[in-house]
């Protein structure tokens, strides 16, 4: 076992990073004065890892892992009073709980259930009905549809274009055997991470981990990914008519595909640029708002993961096409003339403050620690990046972030 304490002077705070004998990465962040604890156990496996299995399998597994042949995890968490949940993203699946009391007992339940799968054809069938309803619910959500239409149009092959939950048809093909083979492939401890933040300690966490998972080196290792995706977007425009009263849009600028995830610096820089150029403190934003083309729901996001990098703008607008053209004009202008220095400094200060604010939030910190393990950064690096980032870097990054000839506009329009 290897244990390292990672400190930050400014925050006057530290957390521990442990490589357990089993190969599992463990993060423990004790927070003085907190009465609750949040734990999250995740694997580097999500909806994009769909090679050779039905779409939606990762999410399906997420629904099934809190069950065993006798009792389900929710019943046990109900005995302790913890609040448990799970979620699936494009590139990870996470199981979590938060609690005030009984932390050790809760952690035991969490680790035990996720590492002891139990499926039968009958329990699989039952879940198909429930997930079918979840999928149907999302089909009625315009903000979800506008996003997935964008991904389907911008990406030609990359599995980010697949809906996370799959479709009613694709999940009908899932069998118990398939779920077991996904567990073998993607749920080895070497591919997973555990983070516990709040009213806890290294000793407490390790005692439970040793007890439930043992200390033998687990088989299996990190799963690697490779994607073939053309540079060009598949379609420049996609629309759908739904029961909405006001059009919604998502405009995405696609970047070249690399198998690895972007670095923390690249992510923070790209997000900073969005606020410098399009944020609430820009003339651009305020003019579109005053002229009635956007509402405060307008925003930009650097949307990335393994093999996909997309800078995305979303919002409600009566005239999405006009907003899209204005964004492109603004990009051309800022690439030609550079970002204004005052704008850059103001936004840098604001992002630094927001990063500090995040250190209250034990849920957010635990999620970020799991992500840091899969993406290969350190939690406190963010604050240093904001201190050292320069305008020159931002102006360089702009040019690769935006190719105005390689973007997709997705629109959801009211039914006629």
């Amino acid at each position: 076992m290897e244990l390292r304490e990672i400190k930050n002077e400014l925050l006057d705070s530290s957390y521990f990073e442990i490589t357990h004998d089993t190969g599992l990465k463990i993060f423990v962040y004790p927070k003085t004065g907190y009465s609750s604890t949040y734990a999250i156990f995740g694997t580097d496996y999500g909806s994009i890892d769909a090679d050779g299995i039905p779409n939606g399998t990762a999410h399906f597994l997420e629904h099934k892992l809190f069950e065993s042949d006798e009792v389900d995890a929710f019943q046990l968490f109900a005995q302790t009073g913890a609040n448990a949940n799970a979620y699936t993203t494009f590139d990870r699946t996470c199981y979590l709980f938060s609690c005030g009391d009984n932390f050790k007992e809760n952690l035991k339940i969490l680790l035990d259930f996720v590492t002891h799968p139990y499926f039968t054809e009958e329990t699989v069938r039952k879940e198909q009905g429930i997930i079918g309803q979840e999928i149907r619910m999302y089909q009625d959500e315009p903000s979800w549809q506008v996003l997935f239409n964008l991904l389907r149009a911008a990406y030609q092959k990359h599995p980010v274009r697949i809906d996370i939950a799959g479709t009613v048809e694709s999940i009908a093909d899932i069998t118990a055997d398939m779920l077991y083979s996904c567990i073998d492939k993607f749920y080895s401890l070497g591919n997973m991470a555990l983070a516990c933040v709040g009213n806890t300690s290294v000793e407490e966490v390790l005692a439970v981990v040793d007890e439930v998972l043992g200390t033998d080196k687990a088989s299996g290792a990190r799963v690697t990914r490779h994607f073939d995706e053309p540079y060009e977007v598949g379609q420049a425009y996609i629309e759908e008519h739904m029961a909405v009263a006001m059009p919604q849009f998502a405009l995405g600028f696609k970047e070249p595909t690399y198998d690895e995830r972007p670095s923390l610096r690249e992510k923070l820089l790209s997000t900073l640029i969005l606020d410098c150029v399009f944020g609430e403190t820009t003339e651009f934003y305020n003019k579109l708002l005053d002229d009635g083309y956007i509402s405060p729901s307008f925003g930009g996001e650097y949307f990335t993961g393994p093999g996909f990098r997309l800078t995305m703008f979303t919002g409600d607008s009566r005239e999405p096409q006009y907003v899209a053209e204005e964004i492109k004009l603004r990009i051309k202008d800022v690439i030609a003339n550079g970002i204004n220095e005052d704008d850059f400094e103001r936004v840098r200060r604001s992002h630094y403050g927001r990063a500090i604010m995040d250190y209250n939030d034990i849920d957010g910190l635990a999620n970020e620690l799991v992500l840091s393990s899969f993406e290969g950064f350190k939690l406190f690096d963010e604050i240093d990046v904001y201190k050292s980032i320069t305008l020159e870097e931002a102006n360089e990054r702009l040019k690769e972030q935006f190719d105005v000839n390689n973007c997709t506009l997705s629109v959801v329009l009211p039914k006629e």
Binding site: S36, G81, A245, E280, N360
Partner: protein, 424 residues
Amino acid sequence: MKNTFTTVEVASGVRVCSYETDRFTTGRISFNIAVPLDPNSVSNNTMIPFILNRSTKEYPSYLELNKKLASLYGATLTPSVAKYGDSLVLRIAMSMIGNKFSFDDEDILLSCAKLLFDVIFSPNVSGDAFLESEVEAERRLAIERLITEKNDKRRYALNRMIEEMFAGEPYASNVLGTEEGIASVTCESLYSAYKAAITSGRIQVNIAGSVDATAVADLLSSYLDSIERNPVMLFTSVQYEADEPRRVEEELVVNQGKLVMGFRAGMMDESDYPKIKVMCDLFGGGTYSRLFSVVREQMSLCYYCSARVFKNKGFIVVQSGIENENAETAIVEIQNQLKYVAENATEDDLMMSKRSIIDTSKTVCDTPEDIDGWLFSQIMDDEIETPEQHAERINAITLDEVKEAAAAVTLDTIYLLIGKEEVE
């Protein structure tokens, strides 16, 4: 730092509720004004937090105000409105980083409190009217909020059920106003609604984190000096039990139908709330609840089916997303499960709900936002209850009380949004 809840009355109908602690990296201050909910005034009132959030005398445009926030290390101002019994609460909440993280020893918290109070008390107005350009923009945004709310079918179905269940009462009003009402808001009408709110509304300022609450309260007093306060009485009518159950059906082109059932909670006064809360949690709260474990897990009828109690108006709502052909089965089963709670709930069921509620109340003091939310939820109460006090009241509830509470629940309104195939 003291880690306790404190309440100070700074003027007539104005109180500052605080929780000072140094364990957070941030602070949180919110300004809340409760006014009567009335269909005739709601469209003006609903725009108040949003028009105030645009500018101040010192920062006379949205751009200037946002630049100021960015220079305060990304402090945020968030306007919103909420329904609270027969009252409408106008709210602006602010989050900021703690002083020790400033680059130059600036007292960020006090600067932020001053900015928030300027936003409330020193708007950029001309005489007795807001500026035409700002009101025009805000009218458009208010109508857009109303329109986009309809995009969320779950929310839409809930609003429709409430409209039906409380038809003819102020509570039926949408807190976002109406399209016609908003269209007729003028610079003068909005200003007079604003004046009425700050002179006669019930005001509560919540403070959480490493904030010097006394300094903030003193600052607030200096703003209130020039205002002649004349607080209005706020009153909510509660119906104890339902008349004949009503059923309303509507069709819409959507994939999934929505079922919303409104029940009268059998609530006489606040002292009934703890037992109703435990009962409602056991009925349709957590994953161990009857609705989750039977209607979702055993019967596989839906992805979500849950119950929640609206404390300030004494009613309970069950919501589910459902296929049309399963709606009748669900309606029957939901009522069966309520009956189960009234007749067959066990000590084990009770224990799970109590533990869950008590555990959640223990986590309240771990974020400034949750502390603010906790205080906000008690804006109408004379005394602020701490999470510990609440946990004690919950813990004292007995199985008989829960069964009685369930037996007192009566079905009032069934609203069904039926998914319709598109006609080509």
